[in-house]
């Protein structure tokens, strides 16, 4: 057995050229074949890659999809707040009961493992789960019990999909029950396009002219930060370096966003074309699509699209017959880590390392992938590029508002009649958006995911754009009956789980914020706790090393500002001069247990 594992792991390492950079791919393959990356496998990989076992363990232990202990077929039930508000807890209970295990455990025979996972990009069809790589949506306790039974019978997850979704979700290479839920198409993105058209027009220009066009179009990054794309490309093109890279950030991990999933499913050619144009503009010959592990079900389909474009002369060497214009793309699958959506963490992950963000400066445009100038752009941004080149910069700039050109894809989920993807012009009011989605009972809207802001009724006339309500696309609607502090707690728990742990404020501060909010919810927090909450939130925001920690206190900050009564209404006063959080009975019971004075004395 020992030699057998060694030989197989060595073969996997060989298949990836024993390359340190391919460590994530190697670990994914080992995990898939052996259902774990055991200490033994780690030793073999370390030897093959000529690195220390510690370096391998460091990467293995960072990503949720790798495990040192063996797992079975993994049911990863999404425990995002949207899923939980739409029956997720009952689905979890059904899985637990049918399998006879608790969340986080494996069945006695080791064949099935049940885990909770953060948002898998299916909030519009919640509750959802991944079973290995296969997506199951709109789960009910009944369908959960049925899935559990079928898995126990030894059936493969891929065979359990009964009804396929719309569009390319039914493609032979996808075969997913996922629905696109395109509720409102717009002129820029969700519109029919001809592969190759924008690329042909691009090749009539110089790289500098392409960058100028992207600037004229006033395109800003769609991932959330809103950095001007043309400027990013110019920095990358001008930075000294032998090689350059263009990386597409398809690590759509912000809870409540799923619009990139729809673009990847229905408009892969537009994306690849945008990347190719980007490669031409910045002088890159290599591109990477960093695809989140949760979207692995799209990998084969995307590989096929890449191959089809190579065959059509739209990708590879001498693209469209243009001598010397070479650009090709590889897909890098992630392994379960929200932080890898941060561009420098994403680059580390592409290099087979832990997904720790890098120290900046240098910025990726100066020193990115392999230390070379690299532009990292969001899926939607790159699709916009293709459309700008196909139509015109002026056409694009004429859409939307003055400061925010173009349209924006919104992923709307939660308490509304029509959850799904909407293409809207920038500058649209929140009220109009909610009306489109059929949200009539609105207690609060989380704009931009957990790292964004929670706003209430008084914000309905605010505009969706970079200068007002900025969003990477996530819009979660909460009705008046929802406990918003439960939402805040869930978001903080998410950040605690997803912090990389590199810097003090994010690693420790988020944990403390979570505990304080739990104290408020339990009704045992004092006014002093609220002051501490606010002071701590400010410290975490101001001192954290990357965007995760700089935005993770936002659920607290925005609810303290917009929904202060949530907190004020639950403040407790001192009980007999004691802190209300001090439970005298529990403390006595604990000390009695420690002293070995148990039930008999209390019974006396």
């Amino acid at each position: 057995m020992v030699t057998c594992i060694r030989a197989s792991v060595e073969a996997i390492c060989d298949r990836h050229d024993n390359a340190r950079l391919r460590l994530i791919d190697i670990l994914r393959d080992v995990q898939e074949e052996f259902r774990c990356v055991s200490e033994e496998s780690i030793a073999v990989i370390a030897k093959a890659l000529q690195i220390s076992p510690g370096q391998v363990t460091s990467t293995v232990s960072f990503y949720s999809f790798f495990s040192i202990e063996p797992v079975g077929t993994v049911i990863r039930l999404c425990d995002d707040i949207i899923d939980r508000f739409h029956g997720g807890d009952a689905v979890l209970a059904a899985f637990e009961q049918a399998l006879g295990i608790s969340c986080g455990q494996s069945t006695a025979d080791g064949t099935i493992t049940l885990q909770a996972t953060p948002c898998i990009g299916m909030s519009d069809q919640a509750p959802a789960a991944l079973i290995d790589d296969t997506v199951f949506t709109r789960l009910t306790p009944d369908s959960a019990r049925k899935l559990a039974r079928e898995l126990q019978e030894g059936r493969k997850p891929t065979d359990l999909v009964e009804e396929l979704g719309d569009g390319n979700n039914s493609d032979d290479l996808v075969q997913a029950m996922v629905q696109n839920h395109i509720r409102q198409a717009g002129p820029v993105l969700l519109t029919p396009q001809t592969p190759g058209s924008s690329l042909k027009k691009t090749l009539g220009l110089t790289p500098a002219e392409v960058i100028r066009n992207v600037k004229t179009a006033r395109l800003r990054g769609r991932g959330g930060a809103g950095f001007p794309t043309g400027m990013k490309w110019e920095f990358t093109a001008r930075a000294p370096g032998e090689r350059r890279f263009l990386v597409c950030n398809a690590d759509e991990g912000e809870p409540g966003t799923f619009k990139d999933r729809v673009l990847l499913t229905e408009y892969p050619d537009t994306l690849i074309e945008g990347m190719t144009i980007g490669g031409f503009a910045i002088g890159a010959e290599e591109g990477i699509i960093y695809l989140r592990a949760e979207y692995a079900y799209l990998a084969r389909f995307l590989e096929a699209r890449l191959q089809a474009r190579r065959n059509a002369g739209l990708l590879g060497s001498n693209i469209l017959g243009r001598a010397g214009f070479t650009f090709d793309i590889r897909i890098q699958l992630g392994a379960g880590a929200y932080i890898c959506g941060e561009e420098s963490a994403l680059l580390n992950s592409c290099e087979g390392l832990r997904g720790d963000p890098r120290t900046r400066p240098p910025f990726p445009a100066q020193k990115g992938y392999l230390g070379c100038p690299t532009s990292v752009n969001n899926v939607e941004t790159l699709c916009c590029v293709a459309r700008i080149m196909d139509e015109s910069p002026a056409w694009f700039a004429a859409q939307g508002s003055t400061q925010s050109a173009g349209t924006k894809l919104l992923s709307i989920s939660g308490d509304c009649k029509l959850p799904g993807v909407y293409e809207v012009p920038f500058g649209i009011s929140l009220r109009e958006v909610l009306a489109l989605a059929g949200a009539s009972d609105v207690g609060a809207v989380q704009v931009g995911g957990p790292s964004g802001a929670m706003v209430g009724e008084d914000a309905l006339d605010r505009k969706i754009c970079f200068d007002d309500l900025a969003t990477g696309g996530s819009l979660m609607v909460f009705s008046k009956s929802r406990d918003l502090l439960e939402v805040v707690e869930a978001f903080l728990q998410f950040f605690v789980d997803e912090s990389c742990g590199y810097c003090t404020p994010c690693r420790v501060g988020n944990q403390l914020l979570l505990q304080l909010v739990q104290k408020v919810r339990a009704g045992v927090a004092t006014a002093a706790d609220l002051e501490q909450l606010s002071d701590l939130a400010e410290t975490v925001k101001m001192t954290s090393r990357c965007g995760l920690g700089q935005t993770s206190p936002n659920p607290v900050v925005s609810t303290l500002a917009n929904f202060h009564e949530l907190y004020a209404g639950r403040i407790a006063n001192a009980i007999n001069g004691r802190e209300p959080s001090f439970d005298l009975a529990a403390a006595i019971a604990e000390s009695a247990a420690l002293a070995g004075r148990g039930e008999q004395e209390r019974g006396e």
Partner: protein, 249 residues
């Protein structure tokens, strides 16, 4: 002649060589910026965040941010010292730090910073984590209860000792230091006189059998607050606490 650039820290004019960090320039100018993970001779890491300063109004870590001509840096302000106090507090409650029983007491940078900032007890809730000790090596001990994940040992081992004795395992609150061998320090080529051990600012990575050898009164921070060695006019600092001044006098 090398070109120098000029900027200000709390209004005082400071010069720096191109590429030099704000912290290095501050040190040279006799201005103390609190720090734990930064150490002279090691590459910057930017993890503890104690050296957070405002650069033209934006927060940056002074140990990683290169100085630029004309930048306006704020360092000794009530807001920033408040953040630093909170960060020190966080490190205390995150681990299990019992100064009175620790052989690093008096030489510990975390303890010294707490005194400098007037922290007598943390205000945050203790986390009381369960952490394992690695005592596998005959001469070296890792007590993770006191580790603050500053990576000084990791960097010193690579950059000064030419070894790779340890790295980080796990994510978020689970992140911890582990020997690179995968089977404890006994499996590594660590030696008791490695720079990696001397680099530990707290009592986490220790040489065995030499604890408590320095009498009280002769330890590093028994007479002067941490940072005084860098300051031209330490008595002016807003953070040298009354507690620490009492000890010093």
């Amino acid at each position: 002649m090398e070109q120098t650039l000029e900027f200000t820290i709390d209004g005082l004019p400071v010069t720096a060589a191109p590429g030099e960090t704000i912290m290095a320039a501050a040190d040279a100018a006799g201005i103390y910026i609190p720090r734990l993970c930064a150490m002279k001779g090691l590459s910057p890491f930017g993890a503890c965040r104690l050296c957070t300063v405002l650069v033209d109004g934006r927060s940056q870590s002074a140990c990683t941010q290169p100085a630029a001509a004309g930048m306006v840096v704020e360092n000794d302000t009530e807001q920033l010292q408040g953040f630093r106090k909170n960060l020190i507090d966080m490190l205390f409650v995150e681990g299990n730090h019992f100064c009175m029983a620790c052989e690093k007491s008096g030489n510990c940078e975390l303890q010294a910073l707490a005194y400098r900032f007037g922290i007598l007890a943390p205000k945050y809730q203790y986390q009381f984590p369960q952490r394992e000790i690695d005592a596998s090596h005959p001469d070296v001990l890792l007590d993770r209860n006191r580790c603050i994940l500053c990576a000084r040992c990791v960097r010193a081992s690579q950059e000064l000792d030419g070894k790779e004795i340890a790295g980080f395992v796990g994510r978020g609150g689970e992140k911890h230091l582990a020997a690179s061998s995968g089977c404890g320090f006994v499996g590594t080529d660590v030696a008791a006189d490695d720079a990696a051990l001397a680099a530990c600012p707290v009592g986490a990575l220790l040489r065995k059998r030499v604890g408590f050898s320095t009498p009280i009164g002769q330890r590093k921070y028994d007479h002067q607050p941490i940072g005084c060695e860098k300051e031209l006019r330490p008595e002016k600092s807003s953070t040298t606490s009354d507690v620490q001044k009492g000890v010093a006098s």
